[in-house]
Symmetry: C2
Subunit: 503 residues, 2 copies
Amino acid sequence: MLETADLSRKLSQAEYKAVFTDLERRLGECQRAAREHGAPLIVVFEGWEAAGKGTCISRLALTFDARGFKVHAIGPPNEEERLHPWMWRFWNNLPACDRIAIFDESWYRRVLVERVDQAVAEGEVLEAYDDILQFERQLSDAGYTIVKCFLHISKSEQKKRLKRLEKDPACAWKVTKREWRLHEQYDDYLLAVEEMFRRTSTAEAPWTIVESHDRRFARVKAAETIIAAWERAIQAASKPPAKSARPARKKASTARTAGTNPLDRADLTLSIAPEDYRRELDRLQETLFELEHQIYVARIPVIIVYEGWDAAGKGGNIRRLVQGLDPRGYEVVPIGPPTAEEKVQHYLWRFWRQIPKGGHITIFDRSWYGRVMVERIEGFCTPEEWQRAYQEINEFEHQLASFGAVITKFWLHLSPEEQLRRFEQRQATPYKQWKLTDEDWRNREKWDQYAQAVGEMIQRTSTPQAPWTIVEAESKQYARTRAIRTVVDAMQAALQQHVSHGR
Amino acid sequence: MLETADLSRKLSQAEYKAVFTDLERRLGECQRAAREHGAPLIVVFEGWEAAGKGTCISRLALTFDARGFKVHAIGPPNEEERLHPWMWRFWNNLPACDRIAIFDESWYRRVLVERVDQAVAEGEVLEAYDDILQFERQLSDAGYTIVKCFLHISKSEQKKRLKRLEKDPACAWKVTKREWRLHEQYDDYLLAVEEMFRRTSTAEAPWTIVESHDRRFARVKAAETIIAAWERAIQAASKPPAKSARPARKKASTARTAGTNPLDRADLTLSIAPEDYRRELDRLQETLFELEHQIYVARIPVIIVYEGWDAAGKGGNIRRLVQGLDPRGYEVVPIGPPTAEEKVQHYLWRFWRQIPKGGHITIFDRSWYGRVMVERIEGFCTPEEWQRAYQEINEFEHQLASFGAVITKFWLHLSPEEQLRRFEQRQATPYKQWKLTDEDWRNREKWDQYAQAVGEMIQRTSTPQAPWTIVEAESKQYARTRAIRTVVDAMQAALQQHVSHGR
């Protein structure tokens, strides 16, 4: 998930002032309403060393009535805590139902810093995750709101900050060998963080990545995240008769920090010269042909998902991908609206049926991601259903990856202007007219809604085991080489791992 | 859980006939209603070898319209299945939303027979449980009803059945070396089964133990269990406006096989001669004093829970338990109605705060089990809350046990007649009058309701790590030696394990 964050986000002093005053007012209102209706709040701050957790928490704490909250700074367990089960200290620090608890680091220490420091044995990590999931479920079932923020900065930003702190006589004491060691472990830590997101981003208590290169932005995003979750909970708590056991619906965010959409960062000017394209495509197709054989021998299943805007060139892209392949080794599965048979099943059922067996390649032309795109936007499923789907899809793909599958997911991205040009061209070309339907035009009108859904989808389902690649598809040729190269790289990496595991 | 089952339960041919005809009719009605409203059913049969899964399933299958169900016999995965993630075959066999799938063995094979056979590495077991829990949660969230029956027979009954089969020329082929090996592994298997119950008896899909020494009884209990769960689901599915996301309330069971109450099997004639009592008590108290020191050195926490009928003698029992102990090493925590401070917290909070640290003993005079007794019966919490509590309590105790805690739980049991005698005696004895309140008389009127709740509590929360002991307390002296002996045994076992682990 972290790689989808846009760390360049920032707010000017003027923007910050304008928005934060309003947020402070709303946090104050929430606190009063929560006290009245009994809607306890737990906020967890985790993040990189030097990401600014402390200052962010200090500033937020100022917005609350001091009688209603407590900040818990969680370090290594003390003597007394080590003599109890590890969750004991967190139970002890639960807020009452009219109060707020803010955790500066939390129970996640155990699966992050303590894990990376090997203070927790690898064999205990899964048990720790079970304990965490049980803890959060028990609280959430009892009406607690749990907000989890991860303050994210890049490795180079972290280095810059540590150096700056070291030079400042007032702060130099904060930077010890330990901080530099944590910096060196950035990449190990990254893997642990991604696993944490995957295992604990539940429907009730999802993680929010707070882009923290700019302090003002981080503060505003944290405040907005807390307010959004808390207001929903207060609303639910204050209307007991209409109270639903399901989490309240998440409204489309209009927050100042919203729209950190990974799509916006795609460079649609990317293209490839015709002669380079020909040469590169030949080379890639040859490599892929060899790889097809190797993964067959190694019994590795390969799953390739194509999603993208209408007319972004999925079909042509897939055609180039399979052009050189042995057809006994791959299958292209086009996904349309569910059939009558599929409609009476769980929505993941038809995809489970189609996954490749070891040694084979399945290319999905559209996929299970329809749940969080078309089904979400057209109302073919309930908000509860598509919100639950992120977790369900991550679980699904994790089971495939644990089996050894290579998973590559493409979003073919182009500009609305280029789409219009292609639509008009299709309309004007008799043998292409069948490709353009009224539905395509209707979808086009919902461009912004789709863009938001796609951005959220990519952020919530891009995992190290099953990453999304946004393919810049303004140039079809460029998009083809980019996609096929991504598949080649992923297959080679899997084969290398296969060999190094001596399987 | 298995040790709480009453394997002597049986039905005569006449009883069986009278009741099964009606059950068949109701199953048929369910099937028709489920088809109409879309309430898919998944029934899982697991159980001991030779427990009669096959015949039970055959008989049940006869009650269904043959067009609406399918039976899946799950053996070791075949070639094709091994080339897919292990859950693939179960997704493939999901019933459509108007159908029934019956599994003769299931995804639980992986954590039972395949685990015991070491076909699944111990390190993969936790991942397998995660996969299972995700699978069942995804289905349950989508409206599937999942009924899980475990057909239980004793080891000696299994032996008898295998021998009988071997002698029968028509059936001898069924008993191979494998079956005898499974028989020898009964105890390993038992541990795996208990872990399975603990990890996967969720609020949405709890396990039901089907006592299977008598085939008729097993058949009726399985049918009743299916009907109870299915009727609730159909009711929920057929009333979309009133549909609650929470599981429908479980009505007090009036089923023919209900009331397999472990309390009923307590032998209340047990007593001890006065001179034996004196000698035995002295011996036990001395041993306990030594053990208190040893567990202090070994840093083992000890948790002792006393529950029981009013006037069953909890106070006197506890007094004898601690009489010889060093008071720096133990604490008695009496649990009454929650205070104002406790009321605004999660119900488990006050217990988490009171658990002993390593090396100390805490004796709870009443406990967190109030949630599923008095709070349930007096309506101090919602049905959803107390139904969820079994799982929450098991999770709580598992976290304590994983930390190394010794957990002993007593239900002090006596007859209503003996209780009345003691009430009257209290009333007649001036210095004992304070002990008897109006509430005691009110609770006495609800004896049957409490007995049912206690039976259910013991069945659903007795685990190998935190077993219940029903203490026959018609004789106070007997009850005291029995309870203290149980504590002594548990502490000695923990110390032995501690030493053998070289800690």
